[in-house]
Amino acid sequence: MDMENQTRVLELVEKHGKENVVVILGGAEAEASGLAAETVTTGDPTFAGPLTGVQLELPVYHIFELKDIIPEDVWEEQISMMEMVLDVDAIIKEVATYRERIGG
């Protein structure tokens, strides 16, 4: 996750409290999505950004995991195309790994 977005996540948590913040990812690959999930749970694994060593333990989901709560027509219009071409199972599995580590 780039530095600017790490800062924005941190600011959001400082402003509203981590119990009120949820991170939603739209990553195209399992690895990149996993890195982003790791960054907002246990801290920046690249040791480069403001979340280095900061365990926010935020609930984090990939948008593919939220299909059940999104209206079908909106899903069709916004997501279904990428759902067909990306490795949905691998992405979900990777993001869920980090969520489970924090007991979510």
């Binding site: 959001l12 913040v21 949820v22 990812l25 059940d68 909106v74």
Partner: protein
């Protein structure tokens, strides 16, 4: 089922995956509050 009602969401979209605005559109009826929305580019 995930309940986003009243939660501040940080949307980290991906230019090659699902961009931020598409995720925002999806969350409109969930009661989530958009904290910020962005689209990263990994290239």
């Amino acid at each position: 089922m995930v309940d986003l009602k009243g939660k501040y969401v940080a949307i980290i979209g991906d230019r090659d995956g699902i961009p931020g605005p598409a995720i925002e559109e999806c969350l409109k009826d969930t009661g989530a509050i958009i904290g910020f929305s962005t689209t990263e580019c990994f290239v």
